[in-house]
């Protein structure tokens, strides 16, 4: 019989697995079910609005990362390069285009339905705009709804910016949804979904913050990317999503009570040697190997910025059912890569301090200027402001040519040695005091 704790741990995973299975099943039967399919992005997604129109979302970034994990991205990228895409550009875009060229086969092995609508919600990354201009030409005739999200240039969201987005939602996005689905916009339905979003968001923040415990019960990066799935994608606003986070919260709470360490693909960690804050997305092509370097060294990621690309809730934002469109606008503008650089530095500094991290590490992604440009300055700032050792490694999201295991391992080993030495010095200093 399974260990009862293991069984509890698995329940949230089972829920998520079922949610995903149903989602892909629905997608494969979209036409039969009479559901319209909308292609859109994770950062600044309008999931609740999409669900309020009974549409099914497809996220090209998720397809790309899953192609990476399934070792298919390398060939897809090469196919896109063969038709003229430069080696230098974002590999998510090339992976997606390569996947299309190869029949648009999704993670379940079934063909993904073509879009009825392209929803370009343009949050935190300029490349999204280019990506959808390309998709628009690859799916001629499919309507495109554009939602331009202003950048948090002044380090805050202004009323003018909210008004600009709400006007776009009312005049551009919602009419396109109505046109494609033949349904009328129902604000009450949207608000109902947003009520569920708030519930899930509350649990999600509590889960993330449990990593402040020593030892941390979760890895907020490698496991965090699984945990963030439902809330950042197609499920925010659903009952299942609330159920998932409630269950996950109970499990993590249980782990805290039992002083259990995070679980990884090889079981439970035995020792928490280093607590890290990580900036930047992970590598997907060698995700397991990459993760293993950390857990083998007893390194736990206690907070990460990547888990905030699809929504930043731990600084207080919640969707607001009373102001549905305004709150969708604020959500979009609040996503991590839409913060200006000083805000990003402040957020990371807060994480390092509040989560009592021993170090700060950047995984700089070749593809992603949105994250990467400026990271070396972020690194210096964090070093100056917190005094923790900083580390820097480079890889790519889905291009296997840019993942050098030996190189990354060497760098990380040196970094962990540095952390170890600092711990010894700090202990000695404390002993003197």
């Amino acid at each position: 019989m399974a260990d009862p704790k293991e069984a509890i741990k698995e329940k949230s995973m089972v829920i998520q697995k079922d949610m995903l299975a149903k989602q892909f099943n629905d997608l494969s039967k979209a036409k039969e079910l009479g559901k319209k399919v909308v292609y859109t992005f994770v950062p600044g997604n309008l999931t609740e609005l999409i669900l309020a129109f009974d549409m099914l979302p497809v996220y090209p970034e998720i397809n790309a990362l899953q192609s990476g994990m399934r070792k298919k991205s390398g060939d897809y990228i090469k196919d896109a390069e063969k038709i003229g895409y430069s080696e230098d550009v974002c590999t998510y875009v090339k992976c997606d285009i390569g996947m299309m060229l190869n029949g648009n086969i999704g993670p379940t092995g079934e063909k993904l339905p073509s879009p009825d609508l392209l929803l370009l919600s343009y949050t935190g990354c300029f490349t999204f705009l280019k990506w959808f201009e390309n998709l628009e030409r690859l799916y001629p005739g499919v309507p495109v709804a554009m939602l331009h999200t202003p950048y948090q240039e002044d380090g805050k969201i202004t009323k003018d910016q909210v008004d600009y987005m709400v006007k776009q939602l009312k005049e551009e996005v919602i009419p396109k949804f109505e046109q494609v689905t033949g349904k009328k916009y129902d604000p009450a339905r949207l608000s109902k979904l947003l009520e569920n979003s708030v519930k899930a968001e509350e649990y999600w923040v509590k889960i993330l913050e449990m990593a402040k415990n020593k030892p941390s019960p979760i890895d907020a990066y490698f496991a965090g990317v699984y945990y963030m799935g439902p809330i950042n994608t197609a499920f925010r606003g659903t009952d299942e999503c609330v159920e998932y986070y409630q269950e996950l919260y109970n499990e993590v709470n249980e782990r805290v009570k039992n002083k259990q360490l995070p679980v990884n693909p090889e079981g439970e960690m035995k020792e928490e040697r280093f607590r890290l804050v990580v900036e930047g997305p992970p590598n997907w092509t060698n995700f397991r190997e990459f993760w293993k370097i950390f857990y083998d060294m007893g390194a736990v990621i206690v907070a990460s910025t990547y888990t905030k690309v699809g929504g930043l809730y731990d600084t207080g934002f919640r969707h607001n059912p009373a102001e549905p469109l305004e709150s969708l606008a604020k959500y979009c503008m609040g996503c991590y890569t839409n913060l200006n650089l000083p805000q990003r530095v402040e957020l990371i500094e807060k994480y390092v301090k509040e989560y009592k991290a021993d170090g700060f590490l950047i995984n700089s992604i070749k593809s992603c200027n949105s994250f990467s440009a400026g990271q070396l300055m972020i690194m210096r700032q964090i070093e100056q402001r917190t005094g923790v050792p900083v580390g820097f490694i480079e890889s790519d999201l889905v291009d296997p040519r840019y993942f050098s295991y030996a190189n990354i391992k060497n760098r990380l080993e040196s970094y962990f040695q540095m952390l170890e030495q600092r711990k010894i010095i700090l202990k000695q200093e404390q002993a003197i005091v």
Binding site: D88, V93, R137, Y151, Y164, L341, P342, G374, L376
Partner: protein, 387 residues
């Protein structure tokens, strides 16, 4: 009137004076003048001019400055432009600038605005967001608000409130500037040998470092020179260059293309100076509304501009036809997502229209042009052969 050679020498010196001596001298002449640096591509310079400011285009350090500190701020897979600019900011080149504007062209430029904020360069640093919605009441309102933010930034520095009449006057001066530049391009379209692409480049780039009034005088004189015969017609093909709107190609690259037998009859090197097509209305409901109307309705095609409904590939083909170009050279900075992600679709539009094309990638400090020259030479020969 000055000789063309003297004008060209002066423009070349101004274009590549990375200390912006002329601009700084202009500022020193009066107490409440301000210098506002802007990055590629487009900024409505009229509002800076009307606020007693000088808009100064910062197009990168090119191959004219050794990068020592800048490389420590940028990974190898990020284009060269921002590292040159941060080098200039950390050095003394941009001292005396009051503020900096970072137009919404890509995430590198966007994040560079944050780097300027963190290192407290200038009295203000602002990412200037272009609306990607072109409804006058939605995107137009947003654009106007973006301009007002810049006006507030400048007001905090020199306390100049922009009057409508002053801004209309600035619009008039920049209208003249754009009109003179187009006249030069139109003369070159017919007689490209009269002013080389490198010379044209120097003249335009000089213009973003000096007062518009002075640049207009230069342009007028250049036109007077080139309406007369100059130089010698060669058996060259005619090309349009596309994709060089931000990080600038080194002069050696432009020269190599010309020397390989190509007349460059249009390009997007100094796109910001030519962004608005036609005149901005000089008697509109308000000066800000006139600038907004021009942005929404008269912007050229660009990688910074959402183009669904009016694809830039088609607009490039149209321009190539109007310029009677034989071919298109796609020439983009390495690691430039906006240019490189647009390229396949634009190439397809050229293929559909039967326009031959080739492509290069460069860094602003590339020093070797042999391969590019060979490629351009082969391109030119093949077009001549099949013509």
């Amino acid at each position: 009137m000055k000789s063309l050679e003297a004008i060209l020498n002066e423009c070349e010196a101004l274009a590549f004076d990375l200390n912006f001596t002329r601009a700084k001298k202009w500022k020193a002449e009066q107490s409440n003048r301000i210098l506002v640096g802007y990055l590629p591509i487009y900024i409505p310079r009229e509002i800076i001019h009307a606020a007693n400011g000088l808009p100064v285009g910062i197009m990168g350090a090119g191959d004219r400055k050794q990068i020592i500190k800048g490389d420590a701020y940028y990974q190898s897979y990020i284009c060269h432009l921002p590292r040159g600019i941060i080098e200039m900011a950390l050095d003394t080149n941009l001292q005396e600038f009051d503020g900096f504007l970072f137009p919404a062209i890509c995430d590198c430029v966007r994040n560079l605005s944050g780097m300027f904020k963190l290192s407290q360069k200038g009295k203000f640093q602002r990412y200037f967001d272009y609306p990607q919605n072109f409804d006058p009441f939605i995107g137009g309102t947003f654009y106007m608000q973006e301009m007002e933010k810049v006006m507030d930034d400048m007001y905090r520095v020199n306390k100049v409130r922009i009057e409508d009449a002053a801004l209309f006057n600035s619009i008039k001066l920049y209208n003249r500037n754009r009109q003179l530049i187009e006249t030069i391009y139109n003369i070159r379209q017919e007689f490209p040998w009269r002013l080389s692409a490198v010379e044209t480049y120097h003249i335009l780039r000089a213009g973003i470092t000096i007062p518009v009034e002075e640049h207009n005088q230069i342009l007028e004189q250049v036109i007077e020179h080139i309406i007369k015969e100059r130089g010698e017609q060669m058996d060259n093909i005619r090309v349009v260059i596309s994709g060089s709107f931000c990080e600038q190609p080194p002069i050696g690259l432009i020269k190599s293309i010309e020397m390989a037998g190509c007349y460059i009859v249009d390009d997007d090197f100094m796109l910001g100076s030519r962004w608005i097509r036609g005149e901005i209305k000089e008697n509109f409901e308000s000066s800000l509304a006139a600038l907004t109307n021009a942005y929404i309705n008269q912007s050229t095609f660009s990688s910074a501009y959402y183009d669904v409904g009016n694809p830039k590939g088609d607009r490039l083909v149209k321009m190539a036809k109007e310029r009677k170009a034989d071919g298109i050279i796609f020439s983009a900075a390495s690691f430039c997502d906006p240019a490189l992600l647009d390229r396949p679709q634009m190439q397809k539009a050229c293929d559909d229209a039967g326009i031959p094309h080739i492509n290069f990638q460069y860094h602003e400090n590339t020093g070797q042009f042999k391969i590019i020259k060979e490629q351009a030479g082969t391109f030119s020969d093949s077009i001549k052969l099949w013509a």
